[in-house]
């Protein structure tokens, strides 16, 4: 492999150390809130909604700032995020409801 000169590229000098520290700080805070929710032992449905919401916020922070997607061209975002959302929506719509049907079948059999 050819040897490369390590020169300042300046191409992706996006975000400052201060910004990354802030993002990290907020990720820690959100993690602390999640753990607190587990300690409080809320109702499972409430907990699931809150945890999924917090996880989505955390993942958005990681993708936007740590993975620099916020600073990329919109085209890159458009080939990645909508594709993933579409595939997940397909799984959730066509596969997931079946799990509830199975648990109802269990319940019927028990009675």
């Amino acid at each position: 492999m050819a040897s490369h000169e390590i020169a300042p590229t300046g191409l992706h000098e996006v975000g400052s150390k201060r910004l990354f520290m802030w993002v990290w700080f907020w990720l820690l805070i959100l993690t602390g809130i999640e753990t607190l929710l587990a300690y409080l032992r809320l109702e499972p449905h409430t907990m699931l909604v809150l945890l999924v919401g917090l996880s989505l916020i955390k993942s958005a922070l990681i993708v936007a700032y740590f993975m620099h997607l916020r600073f990329e061209k919109i085209g890159l975002f458009l080939i990645i995020v909508p594709t993933l959302v579409f595939c997940l929506a397909m799984i959730l719509i066509f596969v997931f409801p079946d799990s509830v049907r199975i648990v109802n079948m269990h319940t019927i059999r028990l009675h």
Partner: protein
């Protein structure tokens, strides 16, 4: 009628040399790999949620201490390693080789600590009789669903495999960048992989650990 020069019209658009995403091929390739890998993990997490919902006797084996506290600590380690990785990428783009290599090494050490602590958690579960095929828990007096072990070890094992591969990847990048064999783009692409591993854990941690906290007598 005047003749239309097709080449003159199509040339600029199809002649190459255009970067529609304003990025290099390494980074675009990594993003596309991560897209496919995120579908792998999504399927695994949804499969876990599916069998859990479909089960009437799913166990909640994790006490707040030590299991959830340990998992929270694992999360803090991964988040901190992501911070050092992003600082490594910034240093690499500024041409600060020593600083970039130092931050990559910190990241890899964080990953190694994560794997070590997670393996300790696994061995603790093995000692409690939880294996990928069986467990000794009971729910309302009935044996708990044996699928718990299969899905738990399958999901966390797949993630741990990614972390382990990431450690090897980062070690290679640190050595190559330190010897000027790799450039800042290589560091940035390895950073994408590492942040993805961190991102996946942001879903495994609440779905697997926090949603499985032992609720004691409340019996949800």
């Amino acid at each position: 009628m005047a003749e239309i020069d097709i080449d003159a019209i199509a040339g600029p658009a199809w002649g190459g040399g255009v970067a529609p995403f304003a990025t290099n091929t390494k980074k675009l390739g990594m993003w596309l790999f991560l897209l496919s890998d995120s579908l792998t993990f999504s399927s695994a997490i949804l499969a876990y949620a599916y069998v859990r919902l479909a089960s009437t006797n799913w166990p909640r084996p994790f006490e707040f201490y030590p299991a959830v506290v340990n998992a929270t600590f694992l999360t803090l380690i991964l988040l901190s390693s992501s911070l050092t990785m992003v600082l490594a990428v910034a240093a690499a783009h500024r041409g600060e080789v020593r600083k970039a290599v130092m931050f990559i090494v910190f990241t890899a050490v964080g990953g190694a600590a994560f794997v070590a602590l997670h393996l300790m958690e696994w061995f603790r579960l093995f000692a409690e009789g939880v294996t990928p095929w069986s467990n000794k828990f009971s729910v309302a007096g009935k044996p708990a669903d044996p699928l718990f072990g299969g899905t738990f070890f399958g999901l966390t094992g797949l993630h741990m495999l990614h972390v382990s591969i990431g450690i090897i990847y980062l070690t290679i990048i640190a050595i190559g960048f330190g010897r000027r064999k790799f450039n800042a783009d290589h560091v940035e692409v390895s950073g994408l992989y590492w942040h993805f591993v961190d991102l996946v854990w942001m879903f495994i941690f609440p779905m697997v650990y926090l949603m499985s906290v032992n609720l004691g007598t409340r019996g949800f």
